[in-house]
């Protein structure tokens, strides 16, 4: 056995090499592998949230693919647009992303002329973040597409369920 493996894959089959395939055979059964039963897995909030998070991000990226904007970039531009002059620390703290990460995010947004770092007049360490004129009009389009994405969410889980979800998770800002 285990002829294929190059060098890795420890001696997994040393002891207990032969075993009966138990109740459910390896696969090939009657079902297409969709009714496996996760038992204790359903009932775990983290698991459900992970799947949802995955779906929702993919839909966001797909919906905003034409403008090439990802969820984090959108959130950064939204916060800056609503609060011009914010420092990087303030934005990072507000969005729950690290200031180290925000540096690269702002780099790309500045390259595309959506955001500009203006040296703060009061603190020579920090930058006052502003949307450029181009960034403002672009954000308008992003918001329309984001609203379309939000409609996709409502279609998926139900309009009222979406409202309820937002209400439940409101405590995370």
């Amino acid at each position: 056995m285990a002829i294929r493996q190059k060098t890795s894959r420890k001696a997994a089959a040393t002891a207990a090499a032969i075993r009966r395939p138990r109740a459910r055979a390896t696969n090939g059964g009657a079902h297409a592998g969709d009714d496996i039963g996760l038992d204790a897995l359903v009932g775990h909030a983290g698991y459900a949230v992970r799947r949802f998070q995955l779906w929702i991000f993919q839909d966001f990226i797909r919906t905003l693919a034409t403008v090439d904007i990802r969820p984090t970039q959108y959130s950064v531009m939204t916060v800056i647009g609503a609060n011009p002059g914010l420092s990087q620390m303030a934005v990072a703290k507000r969005l729950g992303i690290e200031r180290a990460r925000l540096v690269h995010l702002l780099d790309s947004l500045e390259e595309r002329d959506f955001v500009s770092r203006i040296p703060s007049a009061t603190d020579r360490r920090s930058h006052a973040l502003h949307l450029t004129a181009r960034g403002k009009t672009a954000l308008g389009q992003f918001k329309r597409l984001a609203a379309e994405h939000e409609r996709h969410v409502a279609e998926k889980i139900g309009k009222d369920n979406r409202e309820r979800l937002l209400q439940i998770l409101a405590c995370f800002n």
Copy 2:
């Protein structure tokens, strides 16, 4: 200006270098930077879910830190424990993770003697995944800790809200 930066950071302040700090000054204001106002950001399901996802994973990792088990590892062991003999493809499809990624996950779980890959009797390509005896008892402990984590979630968002959340997200398996 811009003395500190080594070589990067384009000429961001070429035009419109001087600007009034608008309504809200850079920072240093009266507030500690917590009441910034995200306007359009609240009302976005993706944003709320991201924050929640982050919080919940951190709590899971912290709660299971003593046994050094991460959420994905836990989900893999749970599914295998509930459905012994499953192939890697079946587990990957069930959990929505790539089979390429599952390889490494199983490698680590096999190194720790929690899971064993047993060559399938019917399909010489695939492996039948089983928990080892050690893995079974370990999973029992993991589940107790995971239940504790789930209680943390209930404390955070409310017991009934957690139930409602699970019900809303049930459509994502």
